[in-house]
Symmetry: none
Subunit: 297 residues, 5 copies
Amino acid sequence: MNKRVREILDFYRSENPGVLTNLARMLNHGRLAGTGMFVILPVDQGFEHGPARSFAPNPPAYDPRYHFALACEAGCNAYAAPLGFLEAGVADFAGEIPLILKLNNHDLLLNEHDPAPAVTASVKDALRLGCGAVGFTIYPVYEQLREIAEEAKARGLAVVVWSYPRGSGISHEGETALDVVAYAAQIAAQLGANIVKVKLPSAHLEQPEAQKAYEANHVPLEPLAARVRHVVQSCFDGRRIVIFSGGAKEDDATLLDEVRAIRQGGGFGSIIGRNTFQRPRAQALELLRQVMAIYAS
Amino acid sequence: MNKRVREILDFYRSENPGVLTNLARMLNHGRLAGTGMFVILPVDQGFEHGPARSFAPNPPAYDPRYHFALACEAGCNAYAAPLGFLEAGVADFAGEIPLILKLNNHDLLLNEHDPAPAVTASVKDALRLGCGAVGFTIYPVYEQLREIAEEAKARGLAVVVWSYPRGSGISHEGETALDVVAYAAQIAAQLGANIVKVKLPSAHLEQPEAQKAYEANHVPLEPLAARVRHVVQSCFDGRRIVIFSGGAKEDDATLLDEVRAIRQGGGFGSIIGRNTFQRPRAQALELLRQVMAIYAS
Amino acid sequence: MNKRVREILDFYRSENPGVLTNLARMLNHGRLAGTGMFVILPVDQGFEHGPARSFAPNPPAYDPRYHFALACEAGCNAYAAPLGFLEAGVADFAGEIPLILKLNNHDLLLNEHDPAPAVTASVKDALRLGCGAVGFTIYPVYEQLREIAEEAKARGLAVVVWSYPRGSGISHEGETALDVVAYAAQIAAQLGANIVKVKLPSAHLEQPEAQKAYEANHVPLEPLAARVRHVVQSCFDGRRIVIFSGGAKEDDATLLDEVRAIRQGGGFGSIIGRNTFQRPRAQALELLRQVMAIYAS
Amino acid sequence: MNKRVREILDFYRSENPGVLTNLARMLNHGRLAGTGMFVILPVDQGFEHGPARSFAPNPPAYDPRYHFALACEAGCNAYAAPLGFLEAGVADFAGEIPLILKLNNHDLLLNEHDPAPAVTASVKDALRLGCGAVGFTIYPVYEQLREIAEEAKARGLAVVVWSYPRGSGISHEGETALDVVAYAAQIAAQLGANIVKVKLPSAHLEQPEAQKAYEANHVPLEPLAARVRHVVQSCFDGRRIVIFSGGAKEDDATLLDEVRAIRQGGGFGSIIGRNTFQRPRAQALELLRQVMAIYAS
Amino acid sequence: MNKRVREILDFYRSENPGVLTNLARMLNHGRLAGTGMFVILPVDQGFEHGPARSFAPNPPAYDPRYHFALACEAGCNAYAAPLGFLEAGVADFAGEIPLILKLNNHDLLLNEHDPAPAVTASVKDALRLGCGAVGFTIYPVYEQLREIAEEAKARGLAVVVWSYPRGSGISHEGETALDVVAYAAQIAAQLGANIVKVKLPSAHLEQPEAQKAYEANHVPLEPLAARVRHVVQSCFDGRRIVIFSGGAKEDDATLLDEVRAIRQGGGFGSIIGRNTFQRPRAQALELLRQVMAIYAS
């Protein structure tokens, strides 16, 4: 275990050795092993957005095994997916890569007002499938997380929280506002998350009261690296692993610039789904290679 | 166990041998034994639509044993029904045909807004009655499925999910829209279903975001076989058994054309209820003979 | 379901449909399907006598899959084995043959006085592995059977009892004495066994009090078929399935004569282990063919 | 995952993906990663024999962290120890090596007749500490194993069984007799062990009945590699991982010859404790290097 | 928290923060706060030996509050007693001193062969009474400790084990033999004890096998400090808190010499009962002052 991994694990001294073991496995797996940085492949879009929107751009991705293979070959630290996608491939890839079982999910078929994701799998499922962590999306509610995190940690599983505020009180632009993202990171950490996943923040500020505080204290809104640094700071001053999602599909130069900003701002890495599995495999591997090269540098 | 059955069972390597055994029993039962194809007789209409609407067209069908006998004589792979219908006939037909106990059901006596089916039987009931699988309808909600599927699989029972999106967010036409059906198949598979049952899709597209994806990626909407193929693809690229219901009563030529399209599109078969038990027994047997002949060819 | 199978199932009208289903599956499986007769392959000798004594005479039998294949190819009604042997093959033979999980077993490594078999697997294991029945050896004690049988039947599993009185109160000759075997069959049936397995009885009478009754009432001790008939009668007058083990390895002519006597005396069949798997596969299949031919005639 | 690892995992198709994952982790860890061979470091002698007898020959070994470091640096596949020894080092070595928690242990302070080990830790402890497997010693009894193995496997942990027959019915020489060791391997496998640990067998035969079977079937007693092959065969014809302990401290040439015989006879490796941690660290590492070189060749 | 306390807490990195908190409270309480040394007052003699034998020499000691006050005034790190004694005083001394609830106890009213202590209080009692640790006596058996320690630690309580081998296999002299005490310390630590309490060892060696190891490896038997050092080493090389009881009442000079030896040998302190509460309060306080002065020096 190198110094940086040891340092990160020391942020989590309250956790039992099982949780530390599973954090260490992710920190020491793949191309970024030992750097303290993360690139995680998440594939829950089949559930969250529907199959055609997710996989039609790259039809081999309809096959659940495609994503296991992609994450392994790219050298990601972990692969995250809902129950069905993991069940459909895990026996073929047993022990090849740390797995994160997404325990709650939401689909777009119903026209709901402030819809809460449904719990679709259990901590027992995660153990049965050999996963090292469970994933949970908070917002619009997070009360269910408490019991799940308690059980998961007692059984040695790390807890990864997707913290994406949304709902009737937040504008669409506000979902990526710096104050909202920083707040979302803080909430996830306060709820006991071992790994926090937030959106990359824009320079927008959503909440008037927060705006005043940002201005009064000269919290810089530019450049992106400064915003990342503020989010990292808001996540227990860098003592919780916080990683960023790139959001919608974008051009590669932009994405790589964002990765540079995440690294420069002290972020712990990226969770990259659609920008990889929605393009041909060779191109996806090349993009991930470039992303990891930046993080490893 | 022939090669196709072995191949299908290998899609389910994460499941325990009990689940594999019950899947194998269905795959190896009846006239389609060993073909990898399914024709399942479901009779939950007495519960879902009321007795007269369901059985008055063919009064012998009021007797629960009628349906066991029909499914056996026709050589279906399995027979699915709610608790009462199974209890009323199972002792007379013990071991004659694989049984699926529908664990939740919904009636039309109350005028509800987005009504959820009620859980009307348990995994323990399924074991006590000698069933090989449990059936569960999802939508408008599916959170209950999690614990039921966990218990069922732990006890060696296969899980069949009826995935019929409906509710305030979906137009009547949308319930069979290609994008909705494909999405419904994906959700059921993500929830861990071993067998997924969806409606035969129309060429309609319901969701604007999906529409864009279908157009951009040239997903064909015609003919029906192409739509079936898209649903099969959306169900883990053909690595989950997905079968189709014919929907409302229709003329036989149309139904047989649909069966040909299901077969041509790579579907795993049909679940045919009203089109059989609402006509005289001899005619029902003849229709099922023709359906199976197509699937077996 | 033919008339004889229906008649036998009617002996068990108190059992739930799950138990009936699993009895029916055994009655309708293999070369003796529908005859009401049984030939079951049991392979617990690796546990009970040690591997070399069991398998050295026919080394391919060291492989657990060998016995699944033998039972399937021979067309036995069921295959019975301890946990490990079933786990090691069941995924390859899912649904190919009804399985009986032996829930308790005993080894010969320790020099015990009246040793009780240890419970080595559970009803949950039987369900998880897709078994249709559990097997349990009674004597020198049978108290544990109560809870196990209760749980097994509630979950739809049939209960097969190996009833072999032994221990400090019974002479070696007495273990196969007619009065002891008839008594053992009665006890197993009284304990709620669905299928009773006893040793083929000799003409010896062990218990003085019983001897008087046999003499006073002219219970015939010869020929073997008469003794079988007495055991069948002692097992609820033929209203419980009672099958006979051949005991130690013997010459084929004797074994086939015994089979004829079992059939003539109204027994329900044989459980044949060592006489089959300890000889080359082709010879074993030929012997089983001859045995089944007698039972089917 | 290479071909040999895949082949070995296929022996365990009845197990859930969690168990497969933990087996894969051991198979793919350390210097023998991917070879299908094992060298496991077990340190339960502090408990079983007392601290001075165990550690006085090499005092740094009193420190629990010494053994973690030794197992890691030597490149063992796994490290096995009782609760206290694991708790005292695991946080420092989180994720560095697969861990096996010995769940039962026995000390020598009391003068017992046929003493049973006490259960000293739980499956929950194993999860909390991040272990991949639990270890359990059978003999003189094994009934407790059933529930522990059921719970462990349901939670994705592999089950390692130390099968060392002993007690009033077995002579001291008999504890390593070929027939006893082969039988012990069979019993552990029948009880559902994923990995079986037995003593290296001598050419002695203990049980008269077994002796006859060995003679009649010409089971070779020499050389050692032939005895190993017989034990492997007795352990489901090589379809269960069976590893051998070297027993008492011996000279290195002998030990390396034994390792060669294990490899030649088709054994899966060694569990080496006292021969390593009771000598200076550099010498221990050199010995383990030689052992692994033989297994890797 | 000073450096020595931090160092000791680091021995327990596998424990949760609740256990660390309670260990820290004892380490930072009383006259030895921050030294890493312990003097604990235990008063279970009323239960273990009877009231008159315990308290008649100093009648105020019949009052449970006497001992709370004594421990507080003397500046002990903790006070340990059975349920009744704690219940009778704890409300008056809430938060004044860390408390250890002895969970099992044994009386002398029955003349038993190898008597096991009875469990007389629960982890819930310890929480209800505001205790920071539970105490448990092992030998002649220790299987009960597993569940109690698991529950106690999960609730943040430290576990103190009284490890006093006795029973039919050990001579009276052997109960304090160096090899037995060292072994007893090892066993308690292996069972997961946070604090180990053993008797001060004599130079006697009890077990023939151990004797050989002591001679071969030149483990010194004299002076007492060397024996203490060996016990500390046997308790995970000093990485578990091990404290010593003085045994029977003795003269003060001897007792203080023993304390000097404990300190010199690296022990963590003393547990002193009868030598204090059986003399007048002023004399007891003076003795404890002298003991602590040695440990603090």
